[in-house]
């Protein structure tokens, strides 16, 4: 068993995937050992010989980690493909934000992505590009909700976040969740936050207040929790999926989602950043590098959005000092960085906690 223990220690893979790889190696090791015992070898010696025949544990673990963590160039490029597609669609929209009809090409393309992704999911496939495609195909719900909000906000106290959370909560309730406890948590998150926002009085000046900012932050966190839970359930808990795919889903969803409403140059910048991130994320052979890429993405993205918000506010308050502006930039970037890195890092954190729990159970 020394060989198997050494490989397990060195195998840098998410939990579910690691279990499957180890089960396969263990079966091989046991078959060789049983054959040696049948041919008259001492059982203790047979175990050692079986391990030797399998090779050097560090070599086997390194090569398996690399194969599983690092997608091929084809898969990595396929995973990044929806990002520039979004850019083309943004350019091709003649009346940005004016009517639902202007977003039709956008909706059709991502509708096709959604149908294709669901088809793949139903066949039990969990490829790395599928996570990105599915995340991208969820964006229209968010995009459409903006238009829905503009249309109805004159008469109804509806908010974008309400629509988003209801859509996501509906997806979750629609049978994705098998565990009752998780299902109830998802419904509670999906309903409580937006409902609270709807009850909140809608005044023009409220946007400036700290109370309103906290409220929006709370709603964003609720949305992130829902999306992360969804990604975890669909990818990380599936027998052929893993935490890295769940994180890529979150990158696709939030990367696209938060690009909405930015100026065209910022969207180009964010698109390039996201293409690089998706390729890095998919190709990186180590989990640690994937997590670092996700955090870096959150930070740079946070800086971009913070700078944009700051430019906007400096027009409103031209008398603000550079020190105050710098402080605002850092604080806002930090908040955005946490917000965007959170859904990327969370699947890995849940996975790591699960592994730790398993190790503790084994030790007991």
């Amino acid at each position: 068993m020394d060989f198997l223990n050494e490989v397990e220690k060195r195998l840098d893979l998410p939990r579910g995937e690691k279990t499957r790889v180890m089960a396969e190696l263990e079966t091989h090791w046991m078959e060789v050992r049983d054959e040696l015992i049948a041919s008259g070898t001492n059982p203790a010696l047979a175990g050692q010989q079986a391990g030797r025949r399998l090779g050097a544990p560090e070599d086997v673990a390194a090569r398996l980690s690399s194969v599983h963590n690092s997608a091929t160039w084809k898969s990595a490029l396929l995973a990044a493909a929806p990002v520039p597609a979004l850019l083309v669609l943004v350019f091709s929209q003649p009346h940005k934000g004016s009517s639902i009809l202007s977003t039709l090409p956008f909706m059709i393309l991502f509708g096709v992505l959604l149908v294709g992704s669901v088809r793949e999911l139903m066949h039990g496939r969990r490829t790395i590009w599928l996570a990105s495609w599915l995340g991208a195909s969820f964006v229209p719900a968010r995009h459409l909700s903006w238009h829905f909000y503009y249309l109805v906000s004159e008469n109804v106290a509806a908010r974008i976040d309400f629509v988003i959370c209801v859509v996501i909560a509906a997806c979750l309730v629609a049978g994705v969740w098998s565990n009752r406890k998780w299902r109830m948590a998802a419904i509670a998150l999906g309903v409580a936050g937006p409902a609270f926002l709807c009850l909140y009085p809608h005044h023009g000046t409220a946007v400036q207040s700290a109370q309103f900012i906290l409220l929006v932050l709370g709603i964003n966190l609720a949305e992130m929790a829902l999306v992360t839970l969804f990604a975890w359930q669909i990818f990380a808990r599936h027998s052929y999926g893993n935490a890295a795919q769940a994180a890529l889903f979150a990158i696709a969803y939030f990367g696209f989602g938060f690009s909405m409403g930015l100026s065209i140059w910022l969207i180009i910048g964010v698109t390039v950043l996201q293409v690089v991130l998706v390729i890095l994320f998919a190709r990186s052979p180590k989990l640690q590098h994937k997590i670092m890429a996700g955090v870096a993405f959150g930070y740079v993205y946070g800086l971009v959005l913070a700078a944009r918000a700051l430019i906007y506010h400096s027009h409103l308050n031209p008398d603000r000092s550079y020190l105050a502006l710098g402080f605002s930039l850092c604080a806002t970037a930090a908040v955005y960085a946490i917000l965007y890195a959170l859904p990327v890092v969370t699947p890995f954190a849940i996975d790591m906690l699960g592994r730790r729990k398993e190790r503790m159970q084994i030790a007991e």
Binding site: A23, E24, G55, A56, V60
Partner: protein, 115 residues
């Protein structure tokens, strides 16, 4: 005499695909088949077979599935996919051409040395 490790590594995918083209097999069986068919020439560190198998699976050239064997033990079996069959045909063709050219060059080199 066994084949040089680098040569086996470089040609592992064609060897695995041709084994699986005959029937579905698990990892250990593939190793044994390769050894038997080559009369002991192709021996490999058995653990190093799995990175090749998993890569082929990720590329969609082979498909893996679990089956329960006697004693309730589970083992992963592999079968060749349609795209794997096409890839094998392409690799066979490539190999034949490569082999013919190497033979030709080696033949010429020998002639030159004799002259």
């Amino acid at each position: 005499m066994s084949a040089p490790t680098e040569l086996v590594k470089g040609n592992a995918s064609i060897l695995i695909l041709s084994c699986l083209a005959r029937e579905s097999m698990h990892g250990y069986r593939i190793v044994k088949e390769l050894e038997q068919m080559s009369e002991g020439y192709f021996t490999m560190r058995e653990g190093t077979l799995y990175p090749h198998l998993h890569q082929l699976e990720r590329d969609g050239l082979i498909e893996g599935y679990w089956e329960t064997v006697t004693g309730g033990r589970e083992r992963k079996m592999y079968r060749i996919a349609e795209s794997g069959k096409a890839e094998l045909a392409r690799k066979r063709e490539e190999w034949s051409r490569f082999q013919a050219n190497v033979n030709q060059v080696l033949g010429l080199a020998q002639c030159g040395a004799v002259a």
